[in-house]
């Protein structure tokens, strides 16, 4: 089930302007990686590139999986927008992948996941009748439903309240055990609670190179790190200082 990834020479240009180039990273099998960086620095673009999505402009990537097989069909991608299909009821959105691949639906799993993200009883609702946070939770449930070995999530918990977010951290940690996860987040606390390593996309010191990746270790504790863990507050302060410094260094 676990599948590690190594990426090298990642590069994206938009309209002749280099977003980043020569980016390398290692995503260990079964580990969580948090991707941080200022708004507009290219996190979503990097995720798209890794997920094998169509890119409009110049792009490049050397991606190696640990088993040497292509990543296609083994990666679940949760976009920054929820991308729920308005013509499918909530539960039908979960098994969209099954319908697209002509596979049998797993009703039990779908109902369990919706209940787990707190949407029991809303299975038959139209997505347009949900709040932004509820929609995001459906999108999360759909991503979990795929049971892919590699999971890429773009700000998966950004639209919910603080308490729900903590609950979703527990849920995702439990359900994504053993998966290789790459998660974009703007929340330093979230990154530290969940990730084994943190990657910060920040302006490169080399002119014309756009952004570069800085790797920071995680707390190294069990996931999710409890909120009252004494290591958490100083690590958070340190990370925020680091994010600020990396911006000024450039």
């Amino acid at each position: 089930m676990s599948l590690g990834l190594t990426l090298n020479n990642a590069r994206i240009d938009y309209a002749g302007h280099t977003l980043f180039r020569d980016i390398s990273a290692r995503l260990e099998a079964g580990s969580w990686t948090a991707l941080l960086g200022r708004s507009g620095c290219g996190k979503s673009s990097l995720l798209r590139l890794l997920a094998g999505l169509e890119m409009s402009d110049l792009h490049q990537l050397d991606l190696a999986t640990d088993d040497g097989q292509p990543l296609t069909d083994r990666v679940a991608w949760m976009a920054q927008q929820d991308l729920l299909l308005p013509w499918r009821r909530v539960i039908d959105n979960l098994w969209l992948g099954d319908d697209l691949r002509r596979r049998p639906r797993n009703r039990k799993l779908a109902h369990e996941l919706l209940a787990a993200v707190g949407l029991e009883g809303r299975e038959q609702a139209w997505p347009d009748a949900l709040s932004g946070g509820q929609r995001q939770r459906v999108a999360l449930a759909r991503t979990l439903y795929q049971q892919a070995p590699v999971v890429m999530m773009d700000e998966p918990f950004s639209a919910v309240d603080a308490i729900t977010r903590l609950e979703l951290h527990d849920l995702a940690s439990r359900l994504l055990k053993g998966r290789t996860v790459l998660m974009v987040t703007h929340d330093p606390l979230e990154a530290l609670r969940l990730a084994d390593q943190l990657l910060v996309l920040r302006p490169s010191s080399l002119p014309g190179h756009g952004a570069e990746l800085e790797r920071l270790p995680g707390l190294g504790a069990a996931r999710p790190v409890p909120l009252d863990d004494p290591a958490l507050p100083p690590a958070q302060a340190q990370l925020i200082a680091r994010l600020r410094d990396s911006e000024e260094a450039a």
């Binding site: 798209r48 999505l53 169509e54 296609t72 013509w87 992948g97 697209l100 347009d128």
Partner: protein
């Protein structure tokens, strides 16, 4: 509930028009051979019901046949344009040219080529419906949100499954407005065809009545045409809404 509401507005509008009609007659004192009274029209409507029904049957068949053909051909064109890029260069300009040719101008030609009976009228109605369906369908298929296509890609969809589950449903609201437009245009096509040359149909009846100064019969025929066109619009609208229970558009509602 909402539907009943719309119907009530329609009835009120009709009554208002009727009142205006009476008022014009009362104020201007136009002679009945220029503008008949509503009562006179109603009398003809009852008296000549079998005649009107016969001609209405012809025109309605033409409209329905044109509607079905126009929608099918329009849909096929939209799909071809959306999925065969090489077709676009030749088909798109042709589509545009076909649209700017005034139908009035080619109606006599169609009658000349296809004859006096129903075929030329069906073709006319088809032509007038074809363009709005093809162009709105193509626009709808083309403008599928990129994120949904990306999602379909990561979910391993084949082009065919993607079309069925993503692109077609996404195009449906746009296509529906094209079909609504077509529903109002179809009767025009059929009647123009009948004016250009026919031996039956409501258009033929109107021309004939006009020539014989039977202005009340002409109005009765017109009324039947309007009633059917409204019925057609509302039935299609209800069908389209039933096809899209998730879609809540209040803008196109006639109320």
């Amino acid at each position: 509930m909402k539907r009943l509401h719309a119907m009530r507005h329609l009835v009120i509008s009709a009554l208002l028009l009727l009142g205006l009609w009476q008022l014009i007659i009362a104020v201007t004192a136009v002679p009945p051979y220029i503008l008949p009274t509503p009562q006179a029209v109603l009398e003809v409507l009852i008296e000549k019901a079998p005649l009107l029904a016969h001609h209405a049957g012809v025109t309605i068949s033409e409209i329905l046949a044109g509607l079905v053909l126009g929608i099918l051909l329009g849909l096929a064109t939209a799909l071809a344009l959306a999925f065969i890029p090489r077709l676009r260069r030749t088909l798109l300009p042709m589509l545009l040219i076909s649209q700017v040719i005034p139908l009035f101008a080619i109606a006599p030609l169609l009658v000349l080529w296809l004859g006096y009976d129903m075929l030329s009228k069906v073709v006319m109605a088809t032509l007038i419906i074809y363009f709005p369906v093809a162009s709105t369908g193509y626009d709808g298929l083309r403008q599928t949100q990129q994120g949904w296509l990306d999602l379909a890609h990561t979910l391993g969809a084949s082009p065919w499954r993607r079309l069925i589950h993503i692109q077609l449903p996404a195009a449906l609201p746009a296509l529906a407005s094209g079909i609504r437009m077509a529903a109002t245009a179809a009767p025009i096509g059929a009647v123009i065809g009948e004016w250009a040359g026919a031996s039956q149909g409501l258009g033929y009846l109107m021309l004939n009545a006009n020539a014989r100064m039977e202005i009340d019969l002409m109005f009765a025929a017109l009324l039947v045409l309007v009633a059917f066109s409204l019925l057609l619009y509302f039935s299609l609208d209800a069908l389209l809404r039933a096809l899209m229970p998730w879609h809540r558009d209040r803008l196109t509602r006639l109320s």
